[in-house]
Symmetry: C2
Amino acid sequence: MSCKHIGKQSISFKSPPSVSGAANVVGKKESDGPLGKSFDCVSENSLFGEKTWEKAESAMQQRALELALKKAGLSEDLLDCVFAGDLLNQCTASSFALRGKNIPMFGIYGACSTMGEGLSLAAVSVDGGFADNAAVVVSSHFCTAERQFRTPLEYGGQRTPTAQWTVTGSGAVILSSAGNGPYITNVTTGRVVDRGITDINNMGAAMAPAAYDTLMAHFEDTGRSPSYYDLIATGDLGREGHEILLELFRQGGIENMTNLTDCGMLIYDREKQDVHSGGSGCGCSASVLSAYLLERMRHGEIKRLLFAPTGALLSQVSCQQGESIPGICHAVAFSAELTPEEH
Amino acid sequence: MSCKHIGKQSISFKSPPSVSGAANVVGKKESDGPLGKSFDCVSENSLFGEKTWEKAESAMQQRALELALKKAGLSEDLLDCVFAGDLLNQCTASSFALRGKNIPMFGIYGACSTMGEGLSLAAVSVDGGFADNAAVVVSSHFCTAERQFRTPLEYGGQRTPTAQWTVTGSGAVILSSAGNGPYITNVTTGRVVDRGITDINNMGAAMAPAAYDTLMAHFEDTGRSPSYYDLIATGDLGREGHEILLELFRQGGIENMTNLTDCGMLIYDREKQDVHSGGSGCGCSASVLSAYLLERMRHGEIKRLLFAPTGALLSQVSCQQGESIPGICHAVAFSAELTPEEH
């Protein structure tokens, strides 16, 4: 047995997989934000040379995966499998991105937590010896998401203060059995948590309890305290959800979560970019992880990172039928270096 | 390393996971078919005591998982993770089925191939030592699928001869590190294959090339010939897709595929039940596998089974935008007994 599960929800890797390549592709609004200079590829018109936004989203995934492979110095043939997901009905951004490619594909769905889910499964595949190189690629697109989940863009609907802005972006990460890190040392897999939130314009409130559930499980399973990490980054709670998560920690007796941030807060300038509570979408945490967080690890600015993207598991139909909004959060622990026993 | 990947797309398990429990729940039409007596639980009105078909689909998943756990003699607490998927937008049948349950959940999407994808990932988790017990649960529902993909039921639209009938059903399978089999010895993960089919009423034609691609990869990677298996069961090609797959094998020089069948052909009586080409949906292969194929293995009627469910990776939007229909197929090899070297 090469590895083991610990506690109820967590896994500890015996041979922690290494990030051999990570890349991202975003739209203009994202490139105008505080992390603008960090992104690998930007499309000025959100179409990436395609005729529809849906095709554009697939093109983003293809480009992100190509760039990640290039950074890893790997050809497509050396990828043993890819885990891919998005927010579109039937995950078509991913299926069409991988159409005709010679890569075994696992389709995954975790709403905006999909990069966390994919990294967990890719790490399991690599650490277990089932793959030497496994990729994760996810995406979201403001225009496809508005069309599908909300109203036609032309309608120009007003947004409430707690609403978030779906990131136009794709991130790809390649994990390999050999490499110089950053390494994935542990993962904690989320449960479906629903605290009865029904406001579809307040996803942060719906997802914050799931983040709290998974993070507390992670600390309990691993025996690590929050301060073990230089940074804990949730996926796309936004300002509203972030404040709720801080309050949940306070109620749980954990006061000083000064190392807690959120990718949805990092990607846009809240004052200047009219995004209300912040960014959201699979592409939010995926692009911030690949462009910013992993780069900070590579530059030695962060040694230990806990990446915990969250997803709201609703659909238009579930809302119309009066259901509340379930959430999920998958946590992935990165370390810049390995301890002697992890080597 | 506890296990290894072989060839481009396949995995061979060193400690083949054992099926410790499998169960299913279906609707009345399925119980009226040739396999009617094999199913564990039947709802006469397709609502399973719920107010909407979507809630009914979630209830089916919950019931199938409960029954599978019962058969395995396991409590929910002993499940290390569950892989769950369905055909609904944003996979809500699965998310709502697992809401509030104390089980780490991975959402997956492989259209009607989802049971194959889930079994592959669950087997990887168990063989790799990441889980002692991992579950897979998937579902489809005729009424939710018609509403979402086609036309309102009240519309009473005519069906073309190549059309299939979405199975109202859910299947759950639990894999464990210890047990008496049947065992999963190998899996072959599919690529996204698109041969340009655009007729949304002929899914069999769209998926047959994916089945051929994965089955041929399986034979090449494992060195096994088709005759190695007592039975090869695709997921839901239906009569039309089955004939196309046979023709593809003939063109590839393989004539005598007398051991090839299809779950979509097995579940309904084509003459009496007005299903045209046969059954489809995640619940088709999942219920036929759990109710019929695995039972035949337990009774010694089949020693070696290759289960190869197929999925059509389209959405309403992709069709409306003129895209053809990509397909995928995931193959899972079951063996009633292990050879000495597999023990």
